[in-house]
C-alpha cells in the first residue's frame, strides 16, 4: 500500500506566548513541533503498512527548518520524507497549499491513501485535507476516528464523528482521510529509527521540481489575505471564592444570580 502522510510543523502550544499590545505572537522561546493531529495520521499510516506492506512517504510544506519535522517522522517509521520548500511558496493560504501538495503527490506517482490530521493547531482551518482531495480527484472522509480495511485490501470502513453521533462509511481506495486524535495512540521513536533519521537526506522540492505554475503557489496563488491580527484580551477577572465548601457554594450561587444564570 502506497501511503502519503501530509504533516505540518507548528509552534508548540506549551511555548507560545502572545503580545496583547502588538496583537502578535511572541517569538522568543517558541519551539516548533509536528502538529499534534499529524502524529495520529502518521500512526494510521504505519499501522496500515505493518499489516499490508508498502511505503509511507511523508510530505511537509514549510520553511527549511521543517526538515526537522520530517526527520522526526522518519524516526517514527516513515520510509521517505520530502520537504516542499521554496521562497515562492511563502504566504500560501489553503488554496495555494493544496495546489502545492497535490503537485508533489502527483510527482510521487500512484498513491493508495493520503492521510492528514484533522487540522493544524496554528491555523485551525481543517481545509487542506478536503481541498487536497478535490485537487487530486480523490474521495475523502474527514474526522475519522476508526478505520478498517476489508479482505479485498481496497475497501475501507470508516467512522466519521459529527455533532450528534457518527456515520459508518465505506469507500474504495485510492482516497484521502483526515483523522482525529481518538483514532489511535502514536508510537514513540525507536533508537534505530532515530539513527536512521539522523543520517537521512531529506530531498527538497521547490516550484521548479514540482513543475508548479508561479501564479498558483504562495501569495500569488492565494485567494485570501490577512489584513490584521490582534490578541483577544481575557480580562483579569479572577476571583477566588472564600470560606468553607458551603460558603464558597453560597458565594457562587449569588454570582450566578447576578449573572442571570439562576
Amino acid at each position: 500500500m502506497n501511503i502519503v502522510v501530509c504533516i505540518k510543523q507548528v509552534p508548540d502550544a506549551k511555548t507560545v506566548r502572545f503580545d496583547t499590545e502588538k496583537g502578535t505572537l511572541v517569538r522568543e522561546g517558541v519551539e516548533a513541533v509536528i502538529n499534534p493531529f499529524d502524529f495520529h495520521a502518521l500512526e494510521a499510516g504505519f499501522q496500515l503498512k505493518d499489516t499490508y506492506g508498502g511505503e509511507v512517504t511523508v510530505l511537509s510544506m514549510g520553511p527549511p527548518q521543517a526538515e526537522n519535522a520530517l526527520k522526526e517522522a522518519l524516526s517514527l517509521g516513515a520510509d521517505k520524507g520530502i520537504l516542499l520548500s521554496d521562497r515562492a511558496f511563502a504566504g500560501a493560504d489553503t488554496l495555494a497549499t493544496t495546489y502545492t501538495l497535490a503537485k508533489a503527490i502527483e510527482k510521487l506517482g500512484p498513491v493508495d491513501l493520503v492521510l492528514c490530521g484533522k487540522q493544524a493547531i496554528d491555523g485551525d482551518t481543517a481545509q487542506v485535507g478536503p481541498g487536497l482531495a478535490v485537487r487530486l480527484g480523490l474521495p475523502y472522509v474527514t474526522c475519522v476516528n476508526a478505520l478498517s480495511v476489508l479482505d479485498d485490501g481496497k475497501t475501507m470502513h470508516l467512522r466519521r464523528i459529527n455533532e450528534d453521533g457518527y456515520d459508518m462509511l465505506e469507500l474504495e481506495m485510492p482516497a484521502l482521510l483526515t483523522v482525529l486524535a481518538s483514532l489511535n495512540t502514536p508510537r514513540l521513536p525507536s533508537l534505530k529509527g532515530k539513527m536512521r533519521a539522523r543520517k537521512a537526506e531529506i530531498p527538497v522540492w521547490g516550484a521548479q521540481e514540482l513543475g508548479a505554475e508561479p501564479g498558483m503557489v504562495g501569495l500569488a496563488g492565494s485567494a485570501t489575505q490577512v489584513v490584521s491580527t490582534s490578541v483577544p484580551t481575557f480580562e483579569a477577572r479572577r476571583e477566588m471564592l472564600e470560606g468553607s465548601a458551603e460558603e464558597q457554594v453560597e458565594a457562587l450561587i449569588s454570582r450566578f444570580k447576578e449573572a442571570g444564570i439562576l
Binding site: L95, I121, D122, Y166, G218, S222, V226, E246, L252
Partner: protein, 398 residues
C-alpha cells in the same frame, strides 16, 4: 514579497520583535528582510508604526471583473429534518450584511423531504430559498452536497457564501471552495463589510483562540466563510415575512459519489451538543472514578447544559473522545464553563478560554486553571458538586 520603504523606516525594531520567523531585522538603522525566511504572514506590516512595510503580490493577476457576483447565500444545514441553529444565526447576520451591500439573502436548502423548512428560513430572514430536494440527498455525502452547491454558485454567482462551521460544513464547504478556486475562511467569529470595495471582512480565531486574524478575499468570488455556531444571534421568526421558494432539480452528473453511508448513528445525547451549548460542565482527573462523573451530568442537566471532558477523563474511559475539549478536541465558548477537577493544562485552556464565565473547582489552589477563571472554588469536586447541585435545586424549587 515583503518590501521596506527605507525613506519611511526609522529602524525602531518593532518588526524584528514581532517576527516569529526571524525574517526581518534592523541593520544600520534600517529594516532588512531575509526573503528566504519570510512567510509573508503580514504581522510586521500591521505592526509597523511608520507604515514602512508592504507586501507585494504578483501584479496583473487579479484583473477579473467581480461585479457580476451579487447577493449573499446562506447554506442551510438540516440534520434529521431540523435546521441547525447556526443556519438561523447566519440568516440574521446576512440580513445586516445585505443591508450594507444593498442586496438580498438567499438560503440554499439541500436534503430530502425538507421543503417544509423553506418557510422557516424565510421567517428567519431569507428573501429567497433555493430548494434542492432529492432522495440522493437524504444522507449527507461531501461529493453530492459539494458538487450541487458548487454548480449552483458557479451559475448564479453570489458574492458571499456563508455556512456553519459544523462537522458537515467544515467537511464539504472546502470542497466547494476548491472547485470554485476561491478563498474560504474557516470558523469565523466576526463578519463585516468594508464599504469602499464591498469586501467581506472575516475575523477568525487561530492558535486555539489566542490570535484573531481578519481576512479578506480581494480578487476571487464568491467570498466564502464557515462561521462558528453560537457566536451570532438569530432573529425571532417573523411569520409575516414573505419570500420566494425556487425548486432546483440537480443534474444527474452531480449525484454520483464514491463514499457510501452505511449507517448514521445518533449517540445518547447528553443535552445540547458541545459547540451549541450555553453551559458546559467539564469533568477532569479530579473525579477520580467513573461513577463520580454522574455528578457532572447531574449539574449539566440542571443548568440545561452538556458535559465535556479533559484528555485525562477520555483516556480513563469515563467519557467519549468526542466530548474532549482542547487542542486535540473541540474548541468551545459557552456562556458558562465549569471546569471541575480540571488542572488546566495549556492544551485544555486553549480550547475553552473564550468562554464568557469560567468557574473552576479544584483541590489545588495553585492549579493553572485558576489563572483563566472568573470564579474559583478550592475543594474536592466530590464534596462541592453535591452541595452546588442541592443549592441549585433549592433555587429552582425542586
Amino acid at each position: 514579497m515583503l518590501k521596506v520603504d527605507i525613506e519611511k523606516c526609522t529602524g525602531c525594531g518593532e518588526c524584528e520583535e514581532s517576527c516569529t520567523f526571524e525574517a526581518i531585522f534592523v541593520e544600520d538603522e534600517v529594516a532588512v528582510v531575509d526573503q528566504d525566511a519570510c512567510t509573508l504572514c503580514g504581522i510586521c506590516v500591521d505592526g509597523c508604526p511608520e507604515g514602512a512595510l508592504e507586501i507585494h503580490g504578483e501584479e496583473g493577476l487579479l484583473a477579473t471583473d467581480l461585479s457580476p457576483w451579487r447577493g449573499i447565500w446562506v447554506v442551510a444545514e438540516c440534520r434529521s429534518g431540523v435546521l441547525a441553529p447556526v443556519t438561523l444565526e447566519l440568516l440574521a447576520k446576512s440580513g445586516e450584511l445585505a443591508g450594507e451591500l444593498d442586496t438580498e439573502v438567499t438560503a440554499v436548502l439541500m436534503g430530502h423531504e425538507i421543503e417544509s423548512r423553506a418557510q422557516e428560513l424565510i421567517f428567519h430572514g431569507a428573501d429567497r430559498v433555493l430548494v434542492v430536494d432529492h432522495p440522493e440527498l437524504a444522507t449527507f455525502t461531501d461529493e453530492v452536497y459539494g458538487n450541487i452547491l458548487a454548480d449552483l454558485a458557479g451559475r448564479e454567482r453570489p458574492e458571499i457564501i456563508l455556512a456553519g462551521a459544523t462537522a458537515m460544513g467544515r467537511s464539504y464547504i472546502p470542497r466547494v471552495a476548491t472547485i470554485l478556486k476561491t478563498g474560504l475562511t474557516a470558523d469565523c467569529t466576526g463578519l463585516d463589510i468594508r464599504a469602499e470595495d464591498r469586501a467581506l471582512l472575516q475575523t477568525r480565531p487561530a492558535f486555539g483562540g489566542n490570535l484573531l486574524a481578519t481576512i479578506v478575499c480581494p480578487g476571487h468570488r464568491p467570498q466564502m466563510a464557515t462561521v462558528r455556531p453560537h457566536v451570532m444571534k438569530a432573529n425571532a421568526p417573523d411569520p409575516g415575512r414573505k419570500g420566494e421558494v425556487i425548486r432546483i432539480l440537480p443534474g444527474e452528473d452531480l449525484l454520483s459519489h464514491r463514499v457510501q453511508v452505511l449507517e448514521s448513528v445518533k449517540e445518547q445525547a447528553e443535552g445540547p451538543n458541545l459547540s451549541e451549548a450555553d453551559v458546559i460542565v467539564t469533568a477532569g482527573r479530579g473525579f477520580e472514578q467513573e461513577k463520580n462523573v454522574e455528578l457532572a451530568r447531574e449539574l449539566a442537566d440542571l443548568l440545561g447544559g452538556t458535559v465535556g471532558a479533559t484528555r485525562a477523563a477520555v483516556d480513563a474511559g469515563w467519557l467519549s473522545g468526542r466530548t474532549q475539549i482542547g487542542q486535540t478536541g473541540v474548541t468551545v465558548s459557552p456562556k458558562l464553563y465549569m471546569a471541575c477537577g480540571v488542572s488546566g493544562a495549556i492544551q485544555h485552556i486553549v480550547g475553552m478560554q473564550g468562554s464568557e464565565i469560567i468557574v473552576a473547582i479544584n483541590k489545588d489552589a495553585e492549579a493553572p486553571i485558576f489563572d483563566v477563571t472568573t470564579y474559583g472554588l478550592v475543594g474536592d469536586v466530590k464534596e462541592i458538586l453535591p452541595l452546588l447541585i442541592q443549592r441549585i435545586q433549592k433555587e429552582r424549587g425542586l
